[in-house]
């Protein structure tokens, strides 16, 4: 196992880079981070649209969410891979393709979390903000979202963990992410599949575990605020 790591660690980490495109763990992390970075604002926007008082905003988003939620991620990846070029007219590279699929997919799931978070804020908070004269947007922006996002933190991190793991589906379109590289290494070494995939599994596990611990830490730091929200009589 040490020999395996010794020989292939660089390949595992960055793929064929610098002699080829970036791949391996670095690509996986880059993809996951970008998917989260872009998915989060989209999730918040979609979530807000879902609770919007304007049907013109609410209905298309609701339809999109039902479609995406009723579809496996693999399908979304295929759409992005085969369907998107036929619309835009030129081929999207694999990384962007996978990124688009992940952003749509995680955005929709994040939106549901955001919606639940918004609904979880006590009704009295909304009534109070509105009776001060704050409009729909200001109420969302200054009163509801700050409370909702904090309460949603554990669910958000959970979604981030899922997204991180889902990057491995990039394998299917030949994206040289860490799972793809591991398969390559397995082909090269040929005799040690158990070790290769154990290392791959351990890598995913450590990343996800780290993220979960991170969530707990952040959660604990914000406890005073969240606790106060929960202890407010409703």
């Amino acid at each position: 196992m040490t020999e395996l790591i010794h020989t292939y660690w660089l390949y595992f980490l960055v793929g064929p880079y610098p002699n080829g495109p970036l791949g391996g763990l670095a690509l996986t992390l880059l993809l996951a981070s970008l998917a989260l970075l872009l998915g989060m604002p989209i999730g918040v926007l979609l979530g807000i649209a879902r609770v919007s008082p304007y049907p013109a905003l609410r209905w298309p988003v609701t339809a999109l969410m039902f479609i995406v939620r009723g579809t496996p991620l693999l399908m979304v990846v295929f759409w992005a891979y085969f369907f998107l070029p036929s619309v835009t007219g030129h081929k999207t590279d694999k990384f962007t393709t996978m990124l688009i699929a992940l952003v749509i997919f995680s955005g929709v799931y994040l939106a549901e979390i955001v919606r639940a978070g918004i609904h979880g804020v006590p009704k009295g908070q909304v009534e109070c903000a509105r009776s001060l004269g704050l409009g729909h947007w200001r109420t969302l922006r200054f009163v509801i979202l700050p409370q909702a996002l904090r309460a949603m933190l554990p669910s958000l991190l959970n979604q981030f963990v899922l997204t991180l793991k889902e990057t491995s589906l990039g394998y299917i379109i030949g994206l040289t992410d860490v799972a793809f590289i591991a398969t390559q290494i397995n082909t090269l070494v040929f005799t040690k599949p158990a070790e290769v995939y154990a290392i791959l599994g351990l890598t995913y596990f450590l990343l996800c575990f780290g993220l979960s611990r991170c969530a707990q830490w952040i959660d604990r730091r914000h406890t005073h605020v969240i606790k106060s929200a929960r202890h407010d009589p409703i």
Binding site: G124, R130, L132, G133, L134, S228, D232, P233
Partner: protein
């Protein structure tokens, strides 16, 4: 200042407000009392359109509040509303609770907003808690902050929806003292409350409601010594001897 004309409200088939016609004049302190479920809270919540009505009209400051060209947010910003459950914003400090609306809606600089908020917090006796979190305050303190927050928009009219009903008994006094001060300064107030001592002392007029109807309107003196309507007589008898069985 407020005119109700034949106001009716239904929740489904339940008739929550029945032909309410009332007037509250400038500077008046009106206490609305009555048994629970009588429509008092519903009535006060129709004034700033937290509750809709199905028929009738409500005018505030001479304007029909259901008019099409009504600018609801601006209208609401000129009515202070104090809730039973305080509803302080838990993610903001006491000071930020009091400066949010003035900063956003009246274009104050943060120095101006802070100055105004601190003056009001001082008035309710909580200037020293300006940087505290709502969760670290007692119920009475939270409600006093809620009053300061409502006053921060400098409204000419204040509505109180059972402001002391969620408080421990020993905290009721501090909140009523603030409200008494407001009344003394000439604020127009409509208060839904069960605090009959407060009503007797501060109110200019008492409205007694039951089953969505205003059954009696009288000065505190008349109301407490010579209630006219049998239901009001019963209500007063019940609250004076809470342990007596019928």
């Amino acid at each position: 200042m407020i005119q109700f004309e034949n106001v009716n409200k239904w929740y489904g088939t339940y008739h929550a407000l029945v032909d309410v016609t009332e007037t509250v004049t400038q500077g008046e302190v009106v206490v609305v009392c009555g048994p629970s479920g009588s429509g008092k809270s519903t009535l006060i919540r129709t004034i700033n359109r937290l509750e809709s009505i199905q028929s009738g009209t409500i005018h505030v400051d001479g304007r029909n509040i259901h008019a099409r060209d009504m600018r609801l947010n601006e209208f609401r910003s000129r009515i202070g509303f104090v809730f039973q459950q305080f509803n302080l914003f838990p993610h903001l400090t006491v000071l930020e609770n009091c400066t949010l609306a003035p900063l956003q809606l009246q274009g104050l600089t943060s120095a101006q907003a802070n100055e105004r908020a601190l003056a009001l917090l001082d008035r309710v006796g909580l200037a020293h808690k300006a940087n505290a979190w709502p969760a670290n305050l007692s119920g009475g303190q939270q409600q006093r902050v809620a009053i300061a927050r409502a006053l921060a928009m400098q409204p000419p009219l204040m509505l109180f929806d059972e402001p002391t009903s969620a408080l421990d008994p020993e905290m009721v006094g501090e909140v009523l003292a603030v409200m008494r001060g407001l009344a003394r300064d000439g604020m127009t107030m409509v208060c839904v409350t069960h605090e009959m001592g407060f009503a007797r002392e501060v109110a200019d007029r008492i409205l007694f409601m039951d089953q969505g109807k205003v059954l009696e309107r009288a000065t505190p003196d008349e109301f407490f010594s010579r209630p006219q309507h049998p239901r009001a007589q019963q209500f007063l008898a019940d609250i004076r001897t809470p342990f007596a069985t019928a």
